[in-house]
Structures are given as C-alpha cells and as structure tokens.
Amino acid sequence: MTVQKEEGYVTADGRKIGGTLMEMKNITLRFGGVKAITDISFDIKEGEIRAIIGPNGAGKSSMLNVISGFYVPQEGEVWFRGAKRPPMKPYEVAQQGIARTFQNIALFEGMSVLDNVMTGRLNNMKTNMFQQAIWKGKAEKEEVENREVVEKIIDFLEIQSIRKTPVARLPYGLKKRVELARALAAEPKLLLLDEPMAGMNVEEKEDMSRFILDVNDEFGTTIALIEHDMGVVMDLSDRVVVMDYGKKIGDGPPDEVRNNQDVIDAYLGVAHD
C-alpha cells in the first residue's frame, strides 16, 4: 500500500504540524434519496485542529459518523495513517485510535463519572474474563494502572469533585466535559468533537476552548471538531472545512475561509441555484 507523507506546515502561533493522518477521498453518502454528503475530499494532518463548519443539515455530523465507521459511504475511500481503511465496525475504528464525543451527549447515564471515564479505557484493558473473575493479581493491577491514567485526565479537566457522582445528576455543561474525559481516556490519535460547545454559556465555552487547546498542546492529539460559533472556530482551528448542503464549499485557514464569497453566501442564506 502506498504511504502518503505530505509536507506538514507551521501554524501562525508556531506549532509544527506533521504529515497527513487521515484523508477522506471523494466521499458520497446517501440516505435513500437524500444525499447527505456529495463527493467531499479533505485531509487532517497530524497535530492540527481541524474544524468542520456549515449551516444546519450541511452533513457535518454525517461526516464524523463516516470517520467513526458508523455510516458506510456509498462512494469514496477513507485513508488513515497512510493506509486505505477496509470496511470496519465502529468498535474496530475505536481500537485504531479514534475517539469522539457526540452532538447529543451520549454518556452512560446509569454509571458514575469515574466509571464512564474508565469505560473510555477499555481498549487498553486486556485481562480476560477469568482473570477478572478472580480479580486479585492481573485484573486488579490493570484496574489500578488504568485508574491512575484516568485520574490524571480527571484532574486535567477539573472534574475531581464529581468523580463518584452518577452522570444522570450532572448539569449539561459538566456532562459535555465528562464526555470529553471519556474520549481522552482512550488516548486517541484522532479526537472527533461534534459541537463540544453547543448550548454552553460564555464561561463554559471559554473553559472548553482552553481544554481543547491544552489537549492538543500537551498530548499532541489531532482534533477534528464541528462548531457553529464562528468566534470559537476562528480562535481554535488551524484549518477549516466548510460544508453546505452536503458539498464542500471552502477549505483553508480561518481567515481565508472567512473572506470566501461562497462561505459568506451560505451563512447569509443566499438562494441556491
């Protein structure tokens, strides 16, 4: 298989971005007669924060679902870490190092915050059921080792005080944060965030922005995020893909995209031909 290594680049704030981590090639996704995504190609480079923006119903979430293996596109190829990805179940995609959060929070409501975040580490936990049943020895050791990692993430996201709280009791903003913690627990290569700041107040948005930047900075995690708040997108992202009605209408650094006439039209609701 051909290995694609394209040149990276250096961002405005001096971070070095590596070669291509993921590439979507000519993706088309249909639901019956509805075309959710039409022939879209873009890439995500190692270490960057890539935003996907666009009006409601543009197909952004569908694109993330294609990346996580939840939707199978009718046409196109997904390349990850230099290899074409064969058709895969979502859990296999997760095992490859792709973690995500959801537009509508998808936490395990019956479990505590700690258990939710621990669940995020399941790909790192290898003891079998018999070892688990005995517990003493391998299983307990593994549990403690993984708990240490999880506690670091809990500290990092400042949710220490709620670690034993059942998730169902948390307010919305904290749930979003716990969901991020669960995704981070997997120590993913690529982190997908579907509207991480939707429905938050200004203060919560600032916190969340800081966490996203810190994750990228401290762990070197590549991030692809969907966001509606243009201010946030301009602040956070290195490059932006703009979608409208399932088509890609712009791709580039935030400043460039902001001045793109098609993008302005899409956001101002200029009539489509």
């Binding site: 979502p90 859990y91 669940t119 790909n123 049943a133 549990e143 506690e151």
Partner: protein, 358 residues
C-alpha cells in the same frame, strides 16, 4: 461503632476500589460471613433449612445470574426457568453418568453446560432488543421445558418421566438423597452462593462489567468507544446462565431431590426470579440477595402470621401474597427501579455524612 466515611481516608486506588469501602460495611460483611459459616450450621433444623435458608440461597444465585443479564447488561430474559432446568438436567446426567466424581464438580459443570446453552439462546440479542428479546427468551423457556419432557434420554428413560437425585456425599457427608442433614445441605449451598457472589462482584466492578453497563445504557455509544456488542452481550448471557445453571442444579439435586420439569422449572419460576431482582434492585448484587430474601420470606411470614396465627384460610393468604407482590412490583417499577438496594443506599448515604451533611 459509627457508620461514617469522614476520617476514613483512602490512600490508594486499591483501597478506593474495595467492595465495601467503608470500614463499618466491611466489618458487617465479615460478621455475616462468619455467622453464616460458623453459627447457623449449629442451630439450623430441617424446617428452617427447607422453608427458608435453602430456597433463599439457591434463589439468590439465580437472582444474581439474572441480574447480570437484565440489571447490568440490559437484556431482558424470561427464560430463567428453562435455564435452571438445563442446569438441573445437566447435573442429573452428570451425576448418573459419572457417579465417582464429586457432586461439587457436577454442579459447576452443570453451570458450564447452561452457559453454553445460554450463549446459543443469546445469539438473537444482537438483532433484537427489549420486548422482542423477551419474547424470544420466552420461546426458549417453553422449548427447553418441552425438550426435557419429550426426549427420554434426558431423564434416563425413567417410567415417571421425573428425575431424582441419587445420594452423593462431600467429605463423607450426604448432601443429596434422602439421608441428608440440614447443616450439610445448607453449607453446600452456602459455598456456591459465596463463590457466585464473589465472582459476580469481581466481574461487575471491572472492565467486563463496565462493558455490560455501557451496552445497557447506550449501546450505540458503547460500540463507538470500542465495545464489541456481540461479545459483550454473549458474555453476559454466558455468565448469567452459568449462575442460573448452578442454581438449577442445586434446586434439583439438593433442595427438591426429585423434579418434574414443567412443575419445577415452568414460566412461573422465570417470573419469580425476575420479580426478585425488580424488588431487590436491578444492577445490584446486594439487591439480588434482598429480593430473594423478600420473596422467600414473604409467603413463610404470611403463612405463619395469617394462617397459623390468625386462622385465615390458606388460599386467602395466598391471594394476599399475590396482591402484595403485584403492588410492590408496580411501585418499584414506577417509583424506584433500583429497588430495595437503592432504598438501603439512600439510607446509608444520609448516615454516611451525618452529622455534617455539607
């Protein structure tokens, strides 16, 4: 002795992961164990063992098993009676085919056989959920009972169509057959209960249990973070059936001694165990015990108080029992899906921080 968390600081994650993180709970647990093993066997008699202790212990195992499937993994099952029958018949066939092997292993193996059967009947769970899965397990229930009635090989071609357990001993003491003593059968069952409870607790506190609960709470999200739904569900079916098989084996060999499958392991049994975990608490090992104790004790209590004490007719007392159980099920389903275990937990939570709730 005070029930409290204040001042009882955890200095390692092992400590924090304990089954009973609070000292008082831990002591009470050791106390119950000691009492069960060292005191009860000396004071127990035939009436108590047959009316209360043995059914309580055996149903506890079944309830733990069903709770793993329903309460932890969220897969509804109405096949408990059928799976208990698999355990009973497997145990019977093993006992009669290999009389020289200790019955302890027969019971364990019967659990193993039931686990395999459980996995087979669990296969549809990948495609169907909720109500439809319940109907599929109901089909399993009826099919299994029919099978054990229809195929004479299962009951060794006995004229009555029943199976009856021959005498088997452990360390020279009879635990099955007509010449058992109360304490021996009690201890034999108790060992299995402790074993099953410990295994269940270990599985549910680790990554296997978190996978089950993830599937229960939101299967799509579980899959997207890396849970293989098929393996996870089938492992729940396997473990659950293992326990239920053990309980069926004990129910037949130690408790009843002779069994007619439709009567002992009919659909009523499936509902009884389901009611136990609903009343006791879904997703709780302690709740499995609480529910089993409640539904075993209730009829005994009603009979002693109403029939023997107040002279009510037996059928009236039985009807009252139905009404109480029915009413409780509705109450718990609507008001407190986590059952008695949750009421207990709330009470403890209040106590735990007392006298400084903030």
């Amino acid at each position: 002795m005070f029930y409290r968390e204040a001042g009882d600081f955890k200095t390692s994650y092992v400590d924090d992961n304990q089954t009973f993180p609070i000292k008082f709970d831990r002591y009470r647990y050791y106390f119950v164990l000691l009492f069960a093993f060292l005191v009860v066997p000396f004071v127990i008699n035939d009436y108590w063992v047959n009316a209360v202790f043995m059914p309580f212990l055996i149903y506890s195992i079944a309830a733990i098993g069903l709770n793993i499937l329903v309460g932890y993994c969220g897969q509804v099952s109405l096949g408990t009676g059928g799976f208990m029958a698999v355990g009973a018949y497997a145990c019977y066939k093993l006992m009669t085919a290999f009389p020289e092997v200790n019955i302890f292993f027969h019971v364990l193996l019967a659990g193993g056989v039931t686990a395999v059967v459980g996995v087979l009947f669990g296969l549809p769970s990948l495609r169907i959920k909720g109500f439809y899965l319940a109907v599929a397990t109901l089909a399993a229930q009826f099919f299994l009972v029919w099978l054990f009635n229809k195929v004479p090989w299962f009951y060794n071609y006995s004229a009555s169509g029943q199976i009856s357990s021959p005498e088997r001993t452990v360390f020279g003491y009879a635990v099955t057959g007509p010449h058992t003593s109360a304490w021996a059968t009690y201890l034999f069952c108790l060992v299995f209960v402790v074993l099953c409870a410990v295994i269940a607790r270990n599985l549910t506190r680790g990554t296997v249990g978190r996978k089950w609960m993830a599937i229960r709470d939101m299967d799509i999200a579980a899959e997207i973070i890396g849970v293989d739904p098929l393996r996870s569900k089938l492992s729940a079916f396997a473990v659950s059936s293992f326990f239920i098989g053990i309980s069926g084996a004990l129910f037949f060999s130690v408790y009843l001694g002779a069994v007619e499958v439709g009567e002992a392991f009919g659909i009523n049994k499936s509902f009884l165990v389901l009611f136990m975990i609903i009343i006791g608490g879904l997703g709780s090992i302690f709740g499995s015990f609480a529910g089993a104790a409640f539904l075993v004790l209730l009829p005994v209590l009603l009979k002693n108080v109403l029939v023997s004490g107040l002279g009510w007719p037996t059928d009236l007392a039985a009807h009252l029992e139905f009404m109480i159980v029915g009413g409780l099920i509705i109450t718990f389903l609507i008001a407190e899906p986590h059952g008695l275990a949750q009421l207990w937990r709330v009470a403890k939570e209040k106590l735990r921080l007392w006298p400084f709730p903030h």
